[in-house]
Amino acid sequence: MDWITTIGQLLNTTLVFSTALIFAAMGGIFSERSGVTNIGIEGLMTFGAFAAGVASYYAEDAGMGAASPYIGMLAAIVIGLVASLIHAVASITFKADQVISGVVINFLATGSTLYMVKLMFEGAGETPLLMESLQKWKIPLLSKIPIIGEGIFSNYPTTYLAIIVVIVASYILYKTSFGLRLRAVGEHPSAADTVGVKVRRMRYIGVMISGALAALGGATVTLTTTSTFSHNTISGQGFIAIAAMIFGKWNPLGAFGAAVFFGFSQAIGNYFQLFDWAHDIPQEFIYMLPYVLTVIVLVAAVGRSSAPAALGEPYDPGKR
């Protein structure tokens, strides 16, 4: 076995598995930093995966060829924005419990996407298989570097985009006045209000960014991994992304690291089979690995997590 290729491939698979989690975790950060808990990430991803499956299919049908996956991604962003508005209206305008309204998103997502799939495709349980799913891009020169060339620079365009989003998110949150306002609204809304920041508007923006990003994350699952949308295309990735966000202490770089860690512990399961000694390990234990590892790491290293101070509280200007 060629070790250098194996490590490169492992890194590559890790990033493929991480991509959706990175997008969704970044989404979660924007919502929660503005003070709105978003347990609906899972549902928003489902909406995105659905939109990508349907829009890309129709784009292919209309002869858009290789451009169709990108149409799917755009559709995912649009549907993510719309779906997150439900969460925003309920929890910001009507001051609903944010956890509850997130659960609503999850319910509506599983219900309405499958309902629409059955409606559009004559009772089928999944969207038709996509012919033009995304292909991996080899970055010239960089992809020739040993290990990381194979691991990082020969990946799906969505993976590159995810990494760019992390950098941009980090920049926006910590280096722009918009980011400062967003964080202020999540830490101390009444103080932010006093200095003229529009608390509700900031929170709407935060939630909607999270909708767009989470849906984009869901879209990447359809466009790179499954090539079709069905009831189990998104099964728990949203919750894992939430875990990555908390794990990364609501910081884009931290959440990125956590998402890659989850991706890695998923990817390594595929590589266990290469080793003779690993054949004795029951497959269930390999599946379990990412979750058990997370618990151990959380307990051992992270401990008390530092959530935004006003997370989960509806803003009420009349309240002290």
């Binding site: 347990i39 439900i86 209206v89 309920a90 929890s91 305008t93 009507f94 001051k95 609903a96 419990d97 956890v99 509850i100 309204s101 659960v103 609503v104 998103i105 999850n106 319910f107 509506l108 599983t110 219900g111 309405s112 499958l114 309902y115 059955k118 409606l119 009772g123 189990n232 099964s235 728990g236 919750f239 894992i240 939430i242 875990a243 908390i246 794990f247 029951p282 269930e284 234990f285 599946y287 379990m288 979750y291 058990v292 997370t294 618990v295 959380l298 307990v299 992270v302 401990g303 008390r304 997590s305 959530a307």
Partner: protein, 359 residues
């Protein structure tokens, strides 16, 4: 008895009721847009459930585990904790009951069932207790631990079933012994072979226990105090940490029992899961619609179970995809959560009433 009625005042019942109606209307509108006949759909839903004894009995079967996971989620909510892990607790409860039901031999008929039920409840309680302990001792967010334990529980259960309880050549465990069954034969005969079991009775008793424990005991008072304001409770001399563990433990027992009933009363075996069964997640919805009150949960589980079981008949009778019911349930929770919307809908009625009084 008076007190019992006081829980259901006009105001506390109005919001859920209006929300349910609004949710059904949203479902109807979506069916209309999709080109279906909502009246035919809803009538075939209800005629499925109430049309014959078998389906009515099966609806009760559907409702039972929802009561248990609903109680589990609500119990933790009352103590200020979000138990999103009812799913995992339900699964390990199933597996523990299956293991005891198959492996333990030589026990007399009622005793074996009781031992199996207790095993299921304890397994669920311990699974949730891990979350509670880590939250209390290490301050780790209970939501993230529960989510991780859901998946861990799922795969652990599959591992146990595949390696220790497997029926040869099948993707499921052997059957439990007859002594561990909690099915009620004569009742099933009455309901033309619907799978009736004692779990339903225990579920109702569990709701009563929830009420008495939470509102009539010192321990329940402490749990609620911790849920309302942990710092104040601590200042008043309560042990916040042990209360967190206790709340999660009891919450998990409810969910674990739900899983045990499902094995001992309904299936009599456990299948290897290909995906999460979802009963625990549905429990979140049940708890929310039931306003986190045990008696509210009995009603909301009945509603949830009726809609879910009936949705199959809906797709038969009116050709509507059964997923519409999840949209309806989601909308109901939405309206309950965003009470401002319901108040806005009710406003004209309130105004009218006031005017009449003035006259």
């Amino acid at each position: 008895m008076n007190k019992l009625f006081k829980i259901f005042t006009v105001n506390s019942l109005l919001t859920p009721l209006v929300s349910i109606v609004l949710g059904l209307i949203v479902g109807a509108i979506i069916m209309l847009i999709g080109g279906y006949d909502p009246i035919l759909a809803y009538s075939s839903l209800f005629s499925t459930v109430f049309g014959n004894l078998y389906d009515f009995g099966e609806t009760i079967r559907e409702i039972t585990p929802l009561i248990m996971t609903g109680l589990a989620v609500a119990f933790a909510f009352r103590a200020g904790l979000f138990n999103i892990g009812a799913e995992g607790q339900y699964i390990v409860g199933m597996t523990a009951a299956t293991a005891v039901g198959i492996k333990l031999t030589g026990l007399p008929i009622v005793l074996h069932a009781i031992v199996a039920i207790i095993a299921g409840g304890l397994a669920g309680g311990i699974w949730a207790g891990i979350t509670g302990y880590l939250k209390a001792k290490r301050g780790v967010n209970e939501v993230i631990i529960s989510i991780m334990l859901n998946w861990t529980g799922l795969y652990l259960s599959n591992y146990i079933v595949r390696n220790f309880l497997l029926l040869k050549g099948q993707q499921r465990s052997e059957d439990i012994q007859d002594t561990a069954s909690i099915s009620i034969g004569w009742l099933s005969d009455m309901f033309s072979d619907a799978r009736m079991h004692w779990g339903t009775v225990i579920a109702i008793l569990a709701a009563v226990f929830f009420y008495v424990f939470m509102w009539k005991s010192k321990q329940g008072y402490e749990l609620r105090a911790v849920g309302h304001n942990g710092d104040a409770a601590k200042y008043a001399g309560m042990n916040v940490k042990s209360n967190i563990v206790k709340a999660m433990f009891i919450s998990g027992i409810f969910a674990g029992l739900g899983g045990a009933f499902q094995v001992l009363g309904v299936f009599h075996y456990q299948a290897i899961f290909t995906g999460s069964p979802g009963v625990g997640f549905d429990g979140i919805a049940v708890a929310l619609i039931g306003m986190n009150h045990p008696f509210g949960i009995l009603l909301s589980a009945a509603l949830f179970g009726t809609l879910t079981y009936g949705s199959a008949g809906m797709s038969f009778g009116a050709d509507v995809p059964p997923e519409i019911i999840r949209i309806v349930i989601g909308s109901i929770i939405f309206f309950i959560a965003a009470q401002g919307i319901v108040r806005w809908v009710l406003k004209p009625f309130y105004l009218k009433r006031k005017k009449e009084k003035v006259l």
